[in-house]
């Protein structure tokens, strides 16, 4: 028993603790760096669904999203953007911006069934987003123009998921 206690006392606790702390700190720094890049510079997202056909695959795409442009307000009509759904704050969706604030947007109310169209002026601070596949997309035609603050990034690169 006393032999065990002596071995325990002889263990280099201080060096062990210092070594463990420096390794944990290195991991913490790496996690912080990943968070900063992911949240403020560039991020990856997996998107699925039919609402952006034919631009994006039904089975899934990996898209690279530029966060700097969105934060600086450099999003314009025609850009595909990643945004937080106004119907569920936990769901990120990809849609295309068709109108910025002040623009008059004309859209088909029910494209599969009728030719009726409507024109809406986008209010200040909002954008009009639509999926490229208007027959299978839930977008501003249903929930109205969305505040610009819901846009989290601009899509600049796309890779099909099947290539991984």
């Amino acid at each position: 028993m006393s032999g065990f206690a002596r071995r325990l006392a002889g263990f280099p606790w201080r060096e062990f603790a210092a070594d463990a702390f420096s390794r944990v700190f290195l991991i913490a720094q790496a996690v912080c760096a990943v968070h900063v890049v992911n949240a403020h510079v560039c991020s990856l997202a997996v998107v699925t669904g039919p609402s952006m056909l034919p631009s994006m695959n039904l089975a899934g795409d990996v898209v690279a999203v530029d966060r700097v442009s969105a934060r600086l307000g450099r999003v314009a009509s025609g850009d595909a953007v990643l945004l937080i759904s106004p119907e569920d704050p936990r769901k990120p969706v990809v849609k295309r911006v068709l109108g910025m604030e002040g623009d008059a947007v004309t859209f088909l109310v029910d494209p599969g069934n009728s030719d009726e169209s409507r024109t809406v002026v986008v209010p200040q601070g909002h954008v009009w987003v639509q999926g490229d596949n208007i027959y299978a997309s839930r977008d501003s035609r249903h929930f109205g123009p969305i505040p610009y603050g819901l846009i989290t990034g601009k899509v600049f690169c796309r890779l099909p998921l099947t290539e991984f």
Binding site: C32, H35, H40, G73, I84, G125, P147
Partner: protein
């Protein structure tokens, strides 16, 4: 005497850790307007408040009566502080329009405590929860106003889902 590269690396590490803590755990905000009087003041000194970011995880834990920080729906660069009165599905009475509105899915209703000067959901309607940036939990400056920011609900205006 360590060289300048060591100082640069140290400050870069500090900045990374600081930004991560600011985004994920807690942050500070300065109050500029008087829409939240008497809870938050800007005269004679601007209140500085602690914002908790822990509520922004996947559970999105906001309660009715919380004071919340969010991006303005009319200008994404501006942050606003108001009290959250109603969650999705609730019915809220809007006194000026003498009507009762239901808050849609994914949205919430925010109002300032100082109703006379506050520009809030009574003007621009319910806002998406995706604009939320945190919950104001404490006032940290000036020293004579340090304390918790309490959860409060006005009587008889909100019917919960």
């Amino acid at each position: 005497m360590r060289g300048p590269w060591s100082l640069l690396r140290g400050s870069l590490t500090g900045a990374l850790i600081g930004v991560t803590i600011n985004d994920r755990y807690a942050s500070f905000v300065t109050v500029h307007g008087s829409s939240m009087l008497p809870t938050l003041e800007c005269h004679p000194a601007k209140d500085r408040a602690l914002v908790s970011r822990l509520c922004l995880d996947t559970r999105f834990g906001f309660s009715r009566g919380d004071v919340v920080l969010f991006r303005s729906p009319t200008d994404h660069r501006e942050l606003m502080v108001k009290r959250l009165l109603a969650l999705p599905g609730d019915w809220i009475q809007v006194p000026s329009a003498k009507e009762i509105r239901q808050v849609p899915e994914g949205h919430c209703w925010v109002e300032g405590d100082n109703a006379d000067v506050s520009w809030d959901s009574r003007c621009y309607g319910p806002i998406p929860l995706g604009l939320m940036q945190g919950r104001v939990t404490h006032i940290v400056w000036p020293l004579n106003r340090i304390g918790r920011v309490e959860r409060k609900m006005p009587e008889g205006r909100v019917m919960q889902r």
